[in-house]
Every structure is written in C-alpha cells, then in structure tokens.
C-alpha cells in the first residue's frame, strides 16, 4: 500500500467527457462571480429565486422533458418526475402555503426520509419565498425541538410515522409551529389531530403559480450546524447562493445536462440540499433518489441499473463499500460512471486508490461546510489528485492558512506545509449571512478580512490543502457535525449523572464515534445496567445519529480552574497521548 505514488495522474478514461474545468490556472484567473451570475436565468428586475433556477427555468428549454427526480423507494418502487411535472407539483405546494397564509420569510421545516414530497416541499417553499430548513430524520425529539424552537418554524412537513414517533411529544413546546403537513407513506389520507393532510391540500389548489421575485439577499435556506458550546447554530443562506451552486456544479462535480447523478447525502444535511437538490437540478440532470439505507450490494446494483454517470458520496460509505470487498464490486459493471466525488471528512489515500483500482475511477475529495453553502476546495478533473488532500480552491474561492498572533491579529502563513487555521476570503455568493439570532457568534467567525473555518489544515508548495483536524471540540461522525454540548446536556438530564464530557473517538469507519464520559451523583454507582440505561436515555432523546455509541464512567471529570470540562484532556487520555499543558486544570490534575 505504501508503495503507491503520491500523485494520481488522470487517464483518458477519467476524461471521457470534456470537463468544464480543464485548465485550472487560466480558468481560475478568468473567473468572476458577476459573469457566473450572468449565466443564471434570473427573474425580472434582478430577482433570483433558487427554485426558479432549479425547476421553472427548464420549462423554456429542452430539459423540460428530462427526468428531474428518479425516486427509488425502499421496496423497489420507482417514480420518475420530469422537470415540467416538478414545476406543477412545486406550484401546488407553493399555493398550499399561500392558502395557509404562510408569508415570505416565514420558516418551514422538513422532517422526512428521502421521499418525493421532501423535494417538492423544499422547492415549492422556495418558490413562495418561504425559508426552508431541512432536518435529519434520524434526529431524536431533543435535537428536533431545539432546532424548531431556534428557527421558530411556522410549518413542518413530515410523515405520519415520524410525527407520531418524534414530534407529537414535543409539539406543545413549540408555540410558533402553526401547521403540520403530513405525508402518509402508504398514500392514504392522514387523520392525526392537530395536523393537515398534505396530499389533500395539494389536490385542492391550482398547479400554476407566479414565483416570488426574491432578491439575491433574501433568505432561502436555514441549515443547522453544531458548535463546541451552547445550542446549535442556524446558518442562513440567501437566494443569491444559487450562483455558487451553479458554478460548483460545473467545476467541482462537472455536471452536464445528460448526466445521471446520484448524491447519496440525506437532504437533512447541507450536502443533500445544495448538491442533492439545488445544484444538480440547476444543471438539468436526472437525480437519483434512493430512499433505502446504505447496503453495499444495493448500492452497486443501483449504480449499475441506473447507469449513474456522476456520483457524489461520502468517506464513511466508501469505507463500508471497501469493507464489503472488491469481489462485491466486480459482480457489477459501471461503464457510464465517469466522475466520483466525496465530501464529509477527509478521504484517506487508500480510499482514493480503491476507487481507481476497484471502480476504475479515482475518487475526488472536496471540502466545504454548512457555513460556506457550497464546495470551496476540491480535487477537480483539471489536475492530478494527491490522495489524502482536499484539493485546491475552486474558481472564485480564495483560501489561506492563518494564525492568530499574540496581539490578536490574524496573519496568513505563506510558508508551505505549516499547520494553521483554514480561512477564506469572504464574498462568494453562498457564504452564510448570519447565525439566526446569534449575531455575536457570527461576527466571531470573521477577523482581519478572513472567514475562519474552525478547521486546521496546511497547504503544500503546489497549493493543495490538507486537513489536519478541528480547531474546536466539535465531533465529526459519518460526515455529520455533532456538538458535544448537545450530547452532554441530554446525559445531564438523567438523575444519576453529575457531569458529562463528550468527545469524538477516532474510528476507522465513520471518522469519529461519539464517546461520553460521565461521573455519577452520590448514591449512584457504576454498573453495566446503569450504562445501558444511560445509553437508552440518550438515544431516546437525541436519536441514533447524535447519541453516544460508548459511555464510560469516571469518578470525576477534569475541569479547568474556571470550571469548564476539559474535553481535550479526556480525548488525550482516551488516545494515550501526552496530556499537554495541564496547568489550567483544577488542582493541577
């Protein structure tokens, strides 16, 4: 394995279709956001609406007859929705919101598995100027309540099953939530008290609608992300972000209108929205939507049967495919597949090479985050891959490695291979415009003309960026950010728990797993039964995606003199690393 070269050169097979980005330096130098903006359809008077760019624009083009969404249900059901049909369905949804009196700027949350209604609701709401906030369906009631409360959601679109399981119990704590629109997965009408049946509402309204002429700076999407401390942060994105979705769809994913494209990310996370809904539809491609959970055989079958040509997936999934062995992949053929990209956490070099050796194509890792709204740094068709690197900044994106000087000023590190914080020059269209109701936290992200990403990285002499780690205690598990505070708070609600400290424990498959350390109140003692009870307690509140996978008991947790739990020390001990400077510790530890 170690004998592999450090650079993976592209072959003719990798460039069967002339890529949009083929001469990195020249195209990057020539690029301007204004020019990219000019490539959008736009609305009269300089208005931009994401849903118009993603859906209605196609009505005037040959792509109107293209299949926009090809949905594959859990039981193998198939449903094709063409662009012209998607326009009508989203019109209906927009009319439903108008009928209910939902105004421009009101917020609508979506809590669904990957079903067609999710896509119709998101795009229909955007058409009407309603701000859309997708929630991950594997969240438990606690994370849902926190996000719906912060976002003051007025409307929630969900399924009957998810409503009964996760929302009904928190409904009375959400005073802003006026309407719950339910989807019945079996197609039957729903009749749950306090909710409305979405199918019925949709049937009762016209399928024509005039798209709201949103301004480029009008809010469109609200994506929640996690910080080290406090509650989750709601990152606000605007309709003008569509310019970035368009440009990155071209340059990072190399989308062409005849592509069959599969983004495996769930729309409950930003990737599944920016690149599972918006960017691909803007390019007129056919999006594969797979409702089922990961399964190696199923994924290979789907890649083969659907003749996927561009595939955007994640390191955890790739490593799970690797685990299934090369023979599983070799039972299938992927002659149409021509470009593979990955995001979520750094893709290890073995995985990049595995793509080349087993699927016949290298995997292009890229980097971005909720706040950036779109891909920023990427391995593109235009240059060789250095496996393990996140690539180079896309056209329109300027990145740097910075450090904070003793006097507090941020300075750029220009020497290659020196570690610092990854920072970006603000100004790209999909940059977040704020954390909802948390102006101070937003301001703290910017200093000395840089947006500070919170990721540690280095840049080599060729301009490739390499991820090093997080600058804070946020946990990255299966590509999703998890705030330790949210997990600790849920554990602290248990009567036996005195204190809790939560870390990300490195894991070969998912990057990090959530591990909790707890100390107990007097009168309680550690036991396997209590450990199981705490695990169940956390899972019920947080859901499987956020709850700890491991819980360990400690007599007490290390704290700083100011009383903060030292997660870093817990992590260092877990890994058997030197504990570093412990002078800040209570009693010197």
């Amino acid at each position: 394995m170690n004998s592999r070269p450090e650079i993976l050169l592209k072959t003719e097979n990798d460039l069967r279709v002339m890529p949009h980005l083929h001469h990195y330096d020249i195209q990057r130098a020539r690029f301007s956001w204004d020019e990219a903006r000019g490539e959008l359809a736009g609305l009269p008077g300089g208005a931009i609406n994401i849903a118009h760019e993603a859906v209605d624009k196609h009505l005037a083009q040959h792509t109107r007859e293209h299949v926009a969404l090809r949905w594959i249900g859990k039981r193998g059901e198939k449903r094709d929705i063409r662009y012209n049909e998607l326009a009508q369905l989203t019109n209906r949804f927009a009319n439903v919101l108008r009928e209910l009196g939902v105004a421009k700027g009101d917020r609508l949350f979506i809590l669904c598995g990957r079903i067609p209604e999710l896509y119709i609701a998101a795009l229909g709401a955007l058409k009407s100027g309603t701000v859309v906030s997708p929630l991950f369906s594997a969240f438990g009631p606690e994370p849902l309540k926190t996000r719906l409360a912060i976002g003051e959601g007025k409307v929630l679109v969900t399924t009957e099953t998810l409503y009964k399981r996760k929302v009904a119990s928190i409904r009375d704590q959400l005073p802003a939530l006026q309407y719950v629109l339910l989807v019945n997965e079996n197609g039957n009408p729903t009749a749950v008290p306090g909710t409305l049946d979405l199918a019925q509402l949709m049937a009762d309204v016209p399928d024509t609608f005039t798209v709201e002429a949103t301004r480029p700076e009008d809010p469109a999407l609200l994506h929640f992300t996690s910080g080290t401390t406090g509650t989750p942060k709601g990152a606000l994105h605007v309709h003008g972000a569509a310019v970035t979705h368009w440009a990155t769809g071209r340059y990072a994913l190399d989308l062409h209108a005849d592509d069959i494209y599969w983004c495996t990310a769930d729309p409950g996370w930003v990737t599944g929205t920016s690149y599972g809904i918006v960017a691909p539809l803007m390019h007129g491609v056919t999006c594969i939507i797979d409702e089922a959970e990961f399964d190696a055989e199923h994924w290979y079958q789907l890649l083969q049967e659907q003749q996927v040509s561009v595939w955007y997936t994640a390191p955890t999934a790739i490593r799970m495919l690797m685990k299934a062995g090369p023979e599983a992949a070799r039972r299938y053929r992927f002659p149409k597949l021509r470009f593979i990209a990955s995001v979520g956490e750094p893709l290890n070099p073995e995985a990049v090479w595995w793509g080349k050796e087993v699927l016949g194509l290298p995997i292009h890792d890229n980097w971005w985050q909720t706040e950036t709204g779109g891909i920023v740094i990427a391995n593109t068709p235009a240059f060789p891959i250095k496996p393990g690197s996140m690539g180079r900044p896309l056209p329109g994106m300027d990145a740097g490695i910075v450090r904070k000087r003793d006097d507090g000023v941020i300075e750029e590190i220009t020497t290659p291979d020196v570690e610092g914080e990854l920072a970006l020059k603000p100004g790209w269209p999909s940059m977040f415009r704020g954390y909802l109701n948390q102006e101070e936290r937003y301001r703290k992200c910017f200093a000395s003309g840089w947006y500070l990403t919170g990721d540690l990285a280095k840049r080599d002499a060729d301009g490739y960026y390499w991820f090093v780690g997080r600058a804070d205690d946020v946990i990255k598990s299966a590509g999703h950010l998890i705030g330790p505070f949210e997990v600790e708070s849920a554990l602290m609600e248990h009567p036996a728990v005195a204190e809790a400290g939560v870390i990300g424990k490195p894991d070969a498959m998912v990057g990090e797993v959530v591990k909790a350390f707890v100390s107990l109140k007097t009168g309680h003692s550690a036991s396997e039964a209590l450990r199981m009870e705490l695990l169940g307690h956390a899972r019920k509140r947080l859901g499987a995606a956020v709850a700890p996978k491991e819980i360990a008991f400690l007599p007490s947790l290390p704290r700083t003199r100011s009383g903060k739990i030292m997660r870093r020390l817990l992590k260092a001990r877990e890994l058997g690393l030197p504990e570093g400077d412990t002078s800040m510790l209570e009693g010197g530890a």
Partner: protein
C-alpha cells in the same frame, strides 16, 4: 438452539446496541429499521454482535436479506446446527 431461544438472543443483542427498544413490542415481520432508530453503524454492530455471539458467518452480500426480525431469525436458524 430452539427458535424461541434464538429470538431471545437476537433481542438481547439488539438491546445491547439500542437499550431503549422493547423488541417484543416490534412487528417481527415488518422491516426492522422502519420501526426503530438504528443508524448504519448500529446496524453493523448488530450484525457483528450476532456473528460473535452465535459464531455464525454473515457475509456482506447477505445483509440485504436481513430486513425484519423474522428474516434474521430464519436466516440464523438456517446457519446454525439443527
């Protein structure tokens, strides 16, 4: 191992991963992951748990067959000595 005993063992393995679940309250014929909250890692740990507890080899290509609790019990039944 009797089927009832096997079913209890499967329930115990599931509960070691998701203690909040009452396996006896589940519809054993319906897809498991539609009824309870298990992420991919939980599901993998569940399968690894069965492999370790029962010493049964479960190749990755068979995962697709293990949809409901009944599927799982029947599958294991066929793999274990009668």
């Amino acid at each position: 191992m009797q089927t009832a005993e096997l079913r209890n063992t499967v329930h115990a393995i599931l509960q070691s991963i998701a203690p909040e679940i009452d396996p006896t309250a589940l519809d054993a014929a319906a897809p498991l992951r539609e009824q309870i909250d298990l992420d991919s890692m939980d599901y993998l740990n569940f399968i690894i748990g069965m492999h370790e507890r029962l010493n049964v080899d479960i190749p990755e290509s068979d995962y697709q067959k293990l949809v409901s609790l009944d599927d799982i019990v029947n599958y294991l039944r066929g793999k274990l000595p009668a």
